[in-house]
């Protein structure tokens, strides 16, 4: 009971010199704010990647034209022309683990025209297997059929954003639009998929038959991607190896020649994203740790100065019955209280900052309890470490000297 009384008394003492308390807190606040912010952003980034992977499908992999490790397929300046729609057929039929394949080609800047309105969007040349492989279907009307593909029909399926932009509330099915100069009939509308975790609008697209795309839009016979759906995701590693050797054979690549395609698996995407965000987080957490340690030294220094100023007070406390350990505990409680409250303030500011960051950058942020707890524990430890030396100094003060008239 007596101890509790001394503790509450010590905490109350802090409120009596607000500027001093504030300056002692500030380093800890900054450190813990950073930890909270970084870990929340890191968690948000990880969730984002997981979401992307989940949307892509855990039992899927992507074959992209062009080798190397770069994301985004063959570069525009030097298109890789070796990946063909036949490759997709071969993968589907020759590899047992594969359930289905969806070859496609795409173009980032297709100019759509409907009467006087025009709108630029991404054009995808796809086969009917797009629907089952992506698990993404036409909501109204029809999707591209085998017949459309075989006959190079000039039909298209638009996604909701395109519909909004060109038609508003009106029903677009059966309407004629132009892609570039080529007229197309709208036969369906895709179901909405929303914003991709990367921030792109997945509903800002138009789909046409792959054959039509190759002949009338791009005038090429190669494709950029094949999405591969497996029967079972346990077969992922084997499927990757089988597809690699199949494609190498089909592309007549001699041993030692690098792949002219790239296979991306969900695991690989996850790992890559985690490596990037992990390194980044680690770096910032180290910065935060440095700030906390610096904050600790600031506290030690201010505490030492303040003990010098409070010699009389300490002497007086001893004269009225405080034991050395009461004085020591008072100063330890003061520093730990400062750092813990600084830590709490840092967590609150960090959460606020995370929300601001989310609004400003549209990068999703997830509050990290882990980070908050870590920040709080660390600030309490900093408080303890920073307080030990000043508290010992204070406890060693001799009341007679502290109270002497010159003091």
């Amino acid at each position: 009971m007596k101890t509790g009384r001394i503790l509450t008394h010590s905490i109350r003492e802090l409120g009596k010199n607000k500027p001093r308390t504030f300056f002692m807190m500030i380093g800890i606040v900054i450190g813990v704010t950073t930890v909270t912010l970084v870990l929340s952003a890191g968690l948000g980034a990880r969730r984002k990647v997981m979401e992307r992977v989940r949307k892509f499908g855990l039992n899927s992999l992507m074959v992209s034209a062009g080798g190397g490790r770069e994301m985004g397929g063959g570069t525009a300046s030097l298109p890789v022309v070796t990946l063909k729609a036949d490759d997709a057929e071969a993968i589907k039929h020759e590899i047992r683990a594969v359930k289905d394949t969806a070859p496609f080609n795409r173009k980032g800047d297709g100019m759509l025209k409907y009467r006087e309105k025009s709108y630029t969007t991404r054009v995808f040349g796809v086969t009917p297997s797009w629907q089952p492989v992506w698990d993404w279907y036409a909501e109204k009307g029809n999707f591209i059929s085998d017949d459309d593909h075989a006959r190079m029909n000039r039909v298209c399926v638009i996604a909701p954003t395109v519909q909004q932009e060109l038609f508003g509330e009106a029903d677009p099915i059966g309407e004629q639009i132009r892609i570039g100069t080529v007229p197309f009939e709208i036969i369906g509308i895709m179901e909405p998929k929303g914003i991709s975790p990367g921030g792109g609008d997945m509903d800002n697209r138009v789909y046409i038959p792959l054959s039509t795309f190759s002949r009338r839009i791009a005038n090429v016979d190669h494709i950029t991607n094949i999405k591969v759906l497996l029967r079972d995701r346990a077969d992922m590693n084997r499927a990757v190896e089988d597809i690699r050797s199949l494609l190498r054979g089909r592309h007549s690549l001699a041993p030692g020649v690098p792949d002219d395609f790239r296979i991306t698996t969900p695991v690989e995407v996850t790992r890559m994203a985690e490596r990037v965000s992990g390194t980044f987080s680690l770096f910032l957490v180290l910065v935060a740790a440095v700030s906390l340690v610096a904050g600790g030294f600031v506290i030690t220094n201010i505490m030492l100065i303040s003990i010098g100023e409070r010699r009389r007070e300490i002497g007086l406390r001893m004269a009225v019955g405080a034991r050395a350990r009461d004085i020591r505990n008072q100063f330890l409680v003061e520093t730990i209280t400062i750092t813990v409250f600084g830590g709490l303030a840092g967590i609150v500011i960090g959460i606020g900052g995370a929300f601001v960051m989310e609004v400003l950058t549209e990068i999703p942020v997830a509050f990290s309890w882990h980070g908050a707890a870590l920040g709080l524990v660390f600030s309490a430890l900093v408080g303890l470490a920073a307080g030990v030396h000043p508290a010992k100094r204070a406890a060693a003060i001799q009341p007679v000297e502290a109270l002497s008239k010159q003091g």
Binding site: K2, H9, E313, A319, R323, V400
Partner: protein, 246 residues
């Protein structure tokens, strides 16, 4: 009944390579319950050191100190703190109140370090006894010097100590506030308190019933004061001639 007794105590300070300074040299004295003793001497005479030793703030180099019949010169720091907390009250020249802290909280301070309950009530009644019932929540900055010293006296009394030590308690006060403090001490004495007043001022020592004179760490005289000044009468006189002594 004897409250404090010192037997042949000596305290030496050695600073640097200088010759040792005897702050207190072979002092033996005893103070009984209910006495109002003035320890008088010039500055550097060792009177404050003597007070610190009797008040358990300091230990003698040699000799024995008995407080309430119990030897205290052999106690540990922790036990000395407990003795100070329970049996001794101090009043200082510079008040030594905690700044930005209400009168009530200042008076509660000794109780915080004690095992007692009802600390707020006890502190309140101590402040009422020194006439500050209406200043409980004022901070030192909001109080006059005399009021601050009365808060300090309330703090010294709040643990109901066996003995009260006052070291130049009027040194920072104007003469009127000084008379008021001395009147308060005489009231406390009349109520049976044991008081030790340390001062260099012979006039101030005149309020006590016994005067011990100290020079160079030794007692040079120890006499009963037959012509005790009465602070209340002097206050009254002062009220009649307000300009004097201001």
């Amino acid at each position: 009944m004897v409250i404090v007794e010192t037997k042949d105590i000596t305290k030496v300070y050695q600073k640097g390579t200088d010759v040792p300074i005897y702050a207190v040299r072979n002092v033996s004295l005893s103070i009984s319950r209910g006495e109002f003793v003035a320890v008088m001497g010039p500055s550097g005479s060792g009177k404050s050191t003597l007070m610190n030793i009797m008040g358990c703030l300091d230990r003698p180099g040699e000799g024995h100190v008995l407080l309430d019949g119990q030897p205290v010169h052999t106690l540990s720091d922790e036990d000395l703190a407990r003795v100070r907390n329970e049996k001794i009250g101090f009043v200082f020249q510079s008040f030594n109140l905690l700044p930005n802290t209400s009168a009530l909280e200042n008076v509660e301070l000794p109780l915080i370090y004690s095992d007692r309950d009802h600390i707020t009530e006890t502190a309140k009644s101590a402040l009422e006894k020194v006439g500050l019932a209406d200043r409980l929540h004022h901070t030192p900055a909001e109080l006059s010097g005399g009021q601050q010293q009365r808060v300090a006296i309330a703090r010294a009394l709040v643990n109901d100590p066996e003995i009260l030590f006052a070291d130049e308690p009027t040194g920072n006060l104007d003469s009127r506030a000084g008379y008021e403090i001395m009147a308060l001490f005489q009231d406390l004495h009349a109520q049976g308190r044991t008081l030790v007043l340390v001062t260099h001022d012979a006039g101030l020592a005149g309020y006590a019933t016994r005067i011990i004179q100290i020079a160079d760490g030794r007692i040079t005289s120890d006499k009963e004061n037959r012509k005790t000044r009465v602070a209340r009468d002097e206050l009254k006189k002062m009220a009649e001639t307000p300009e004097v002594n201001e």
